[in-house]
């Protein structure tokens, strides 16, 4: 144990803060890649070749970079939603469903009315945020009223969202596009689509919105009165109550904001990507991957953005890797799972690399949130 390992307990300067914050995630990524390479070696593949292909597939060409950015966009927003809820002491597992509802609201506004673009697009995006917010505020209200744990209620609402939307776009469903074979909604009008940033590519303006959202979340959490309330409720609900903060109201507000971010992510997916509609199986799993993104990102908006980029890159590079080395795409899911495991159970990483525990600031752990009834 070196002298400076304790500086982490109480960081003295920015560099120390940053090193202290990102050393665990970086080591977790490194370790996960290492473990996965053992699996590749066992199946007779050269892991170095595979990872090079992965990197090339993610960043090798302009198209690759664009795909990485597109894939990262919903991860950023979903991850932000989860991080925001975490900071408020809530474990919003319902980002999946909130993202769905957000997509549905955005798509309905997008195809059912035609308006000038400068109104239509913002309205559709706001609609997405609103849908996500409502879907998250409901479990928030349950928790505030009766202490029902949000992990349970949000999971239930995930199912409900999924089933209701599948029904709505299914045979004779109210959102079903006429004369189609697959269950899907009509495409949204041109006026509700996100502008393309580089002509003749798929790069849409959603990525800018997502990065901007990260800045807004940062500002909100650490620079605003409401953010102070949110963090106080998350860090110590009793002290929050003592300080006159309306804890119940804050729980609902935090969930609504978290859901709004997820809903914005869902809206961007349907308004930014061809064929600009909503089909079954669309975006399934994004919300759950976002939990991994948020945890890897240290539930900090900037960390979330970085880890979303990493997840986006892995998703977009995986195909080339499979093509070149026959390593199945699924290995990426394994790597992502390992990363999450190592970050969540960071004691493993700490003991491998001999890093001392940090101070209280980072003690928002999954375990504590589980225990945090009402």
């Amino acid at each position: 144990m070196s002298e400076d390992s304790e500086a982490i307990q109480q960081p003295r300067n920015l560099a120390a803060v940053i090193v202290g914050r990102i050393s665990i995630p970086l080591l977790a990524i490194f370790t996960a890649l290492l473990v996965a390479s053992l699996a590749m070696l066992a199946s007779g593949t050269n892991p170095i070749k595979a990872y090079l292909a992965l990197g090339e597939g993610a960043f090798g060409t302009q198209k690759a970079v664009i795909e990485t950015l597109i894939k990262a966009t919903p991860f950023i927003l979903g991850g932000l939603g989860i991080a925001l809820a975490f900071r408020g002491g809530l474990f919003n597992i319902g980002v999946e469903g909130q993202l769905f509802v957000g997509s549905a609201f955005a798509v309905i506004i997008g195809y059912s009315i035609e308006l000038p673009a400068f109104i239509h697009l913002p309205l559709a995006l706001l609609g997405g945020m609103f849908g996500g917010a409502i879907w998250a505020a409901i479990p928030g209200y349950f928790k505030a009223r009766s202490g029902a744990h949000e992990v349970i209620t949000t999971i239930m609402l995930n199912f409900i969202a999924l089933r209701v939307i599948n029904w709505a776009i299914g045979v004779n469903g109210p959102m079903r596009a006429p004369r189609t074979v697959v269950p899907e909604t009509p495409a949204v009008f041109e006026s509700a689509r996100l502008p393309i940033l580089i002509p003749d590519t798929r790069l849409h303006a959603g990525v800018i919105i997502a990065v901007f959202a990260a800045l807004v979340v940062y500002w909100f959490l650490w620079r605003t009165v409401a953010g102070f309330e949110l963090r106080t409720v998350g860090a110590n609900p009793s002290a929050a109550r003592y300080a006159g903060i309306n804890v119940e109201f804050n729980i609902v507000r935090t969930m609504a904001l978290s859901g709004a971010l997820a809903g914005l992510g869902g809206g961007i997916q349907v308004l930014g990507l061809a064929p600009y509609n909503f089909t079954t199986g669309f975006n399934v799993g994004l919300g759950f991957d976002s939990i991994a993104v948020a945890v890897l990102g240290g539930i900090h908006p900037f960390g979330v953005t970085m880890s979303a980029l990493l997840f986006g890159a892995m998703d977009s590079g995986a195909r080339l890797m499979q093509l070149r080395t026959k390593v199945p795409i699924d290995i990426i899911t394994i790597v992502q799972g390992l990363i999450l495991t190592f970050v969540a159970a960071n004691q493993i990483i700490r003991s491998i690399y001999r890093i001392r525990a940090r101070g209280e600031e980072d003690q928002i752990s999954l375990g504590r949130l589980w225990g945090g009834g009402s």
Partner: protein, 530 residues
């Protein structure tokens, strides 16, 4: 009763030499030498932040010292973590308890040391609750500590939780007990009982390191006394060779007034008016039963009572943290009986809460953020939607210097400050708010003599400025030296309200034990409701 003429090394249960420990910005221990003889009670004294807890955490394996050596029974040992410490027979009861609230006493004791019965199935074995309960009862009997093994920890009073902590250490086979401010949370009677426990422990051959800020206790029970200042040992002495005054001066490095001077009160208008108040506790049992009193401008009403007689619930009701069942509360001219906590703060109540970790502070926040916990949404801290970092900064700097909070910086996490300095953060925040009513619940718990003197002076200053002060304390000395009138609470009722001139320790002691006074013995007694 000491065996000081034995071979010195043999009779030492514990010895540390040249221990130094540095934290960013502070040298918490500076080449400390300290020894504990077998069967000895050795008191460790020092100001808040002097490094007492740090030294003990080093011995208990929670911190790795930068330099220095530790010997147990004459052998040098390396203690890497608390398990090592326990294996060496060292147990520690922390200043802030480390129990799992949702578990029972027995379950807490078992944690990590589960006793099983029947088939040995590793992690699947059945836990032998009965055996544990029996073992606990045996310990309880041996040392005369009363505690119900089946009670849930969150239902216990602080005094009871403390007993659980001690039993936990004994249960794990500790021979050397480190008790970090065990009496800070106890009432005089509980402290007496606790001393009995300590005496019976040393009789059974245990050795005790006893940290406290109460000089009387040190003189009453310690065999030897070591004083730390700014991390270094400044002296070692024995009760027979010293006095409270001398110890205080040694700790603080200057003369300390052990009793505050104050002028007679000049009471003005009524500020807080409580009528026939009824409040339930967490188990929905009546905790406050028909309490009535008035606190006026410029006076201090002290609420004396053995802990757990409804004081906590009374204060929670008076700050909006719990529901009032019956009766009324008026603050200034507004009826705040059913108001939310914020309405109380805004109408003018400042509150120094009893449990500083639960209510008073957000430990994961820095000092500066904790100092705006009540006012973050008001100018100058809030401007529009934003929090103004400059104002937060300025406020923190001003309060830290004005209230002498010892912290490396305003960005230091409150959780890493010494206990006394954490309390000063709360006191600074609450007293600086200029509220017409100050509710102070155990305001000097865990504070050193210098800080107590300081906070007492601040409270009296507030009174003299015309603030109405409601002081709740289980410390009779504190009640007697600060209050202008004293209300004694017993089992949720106020048995009497008497002017301080008519109060003696004996009279208060009887009332606190629930002995009602007859009419002629006290004209001023509040009529008990029955």
């Amino acid at each position: 009763m000491k065996s000081s003429d034995q071979d010195p090394l043999e009779s030492l249960a514990l010895q540390v030499s040249g221990i130094s420990k540095r934290f960013p910005g502070v040298l918490a221990n500076d080449k400390v030498d300290f020894s504990l003889a077998r069967g000895e009670i050795h008191a460790l004294l020092g100001e808040n932040g002097a490094g007492k807890t740090t030294l003990m955490n080093v011995v208990y394996g929670l911190y790795k010292p930068d330099e220095g050596e530790i010997f147990i029974n004459g052998n040098q040992v390396e203690i890497r973590d608390p398990n090592d410490a326990l294996a060496q027979g060292i147990g520690m009861v922390h200043q802030h308890f480390m129990l799992v609230p949702v578990m029972t006493v027995a379950e807490n004791l078992m944690l990590g040391h589960e006793v099983t019965r029947g088939l040995k199935l590793g992690l699947l074995s059945r836990v032998d609750r009965q055996k544990v309960s029996e073992e606990i009862e045996a310990l309880v009997e041996l040392y005369g500590m009363e505690v119900n093994p089946e009670a849930y920890v969150h239902e216990l009073s602080v005094g009871e939780q403390q007993r659980v902590e001690i039993i936990k250490a004994l249960y794990r086979g500790a021979d050397v007990l480190i008790l970090d401010e065990p009496t800070a949370v106890l009432t005089p009677q509980e402290t007496e009982d606790f001393f009995e426990v300590m005496r019976s422990l040393v009789k059974q051959g245990k050795s005790i390191i006893f940290i406290t800020h109460k000089l009387k206790e040190v003189l009453a029970i310690a065999d030897r006394i070591t004083v730390l200042r700014d991390g270094a040992v400044v002296g070692m002495t024995k009760p027979a060779e010293t006095s409270e005054k001398e110890l205080a001066a040694m700790m603080v490095g200057r003369e300390v007034l052990l009793r505050v001077e104050k002028k007679p009160a000049q009471p003005g208008e009524d500020v807080l008016k409580v009528q026939n108040l009824h409040v339930l506790d967490r188990r929905d049992q009546p905790a406050v039963r028909g309490v009535s009193f008035i606190v006026r401008e410029g006076e201090i009403l002290g609420i004396a009572g053995v802990q757990g007689n409804g004081q906590a619930e009374l204060v929670e009701a008076l700050t909006g943290l719990t529901k009032v069942i019956e009766g009324s509360i008026h603050l200034k001219d507004s009826d705040v009986t059913h108001a939310r906590p914020r309405a109380f703060t805004e109408t003018g109540a400042a509150h120094v809460p009893e449990d500083r970790h639960k209510h008073g502070l957000v430990l994961s926040y820095a000092v500066d953020e904790n100092l705006i916990l009540q006012t973050y949404y008001l100018a100058p801290f809030a401007s529009g939607l934003n929090i103004n970092p400059r104002a937060v900064d300025e406020n923190a700097r001003r309060l830290i210097s004005e209230y002498d909070v010892r912290t490396p910086s305003i960005k230091t996490l409150v959780g890493s400050l010494s206990g006394g300095n954490q309390q000063k953060v709360i006191v600074a925040r609450e007293l600086s708010r200029d509220a017409p009513l100050l509710i102070a619940n155990q305001p000097t718990r865990g504070l050193d003599v210098g800080s107590i003197e300081y906070i007492h002076r601040r409270i009296i200053e507030k009174r003299d400025e015309g603030v109405a002060v409601l002081l709740v304390s289980s410390e009779l000395d504190e009640i007697l030296s600060l209050s202008d009138r004293i209300a004694v609470i017993y089992s949720g009722e106020i048995l009497a309200i008497i002017p301080v001139e008519e109060a003696t320790k004996e009279r208060l002691g009887l009332l606190m034990a629930g002995v009602r006074e007859t009419q002629e013995s006290s004209q001023a007694a509040a009529t008990p409701m029955e």
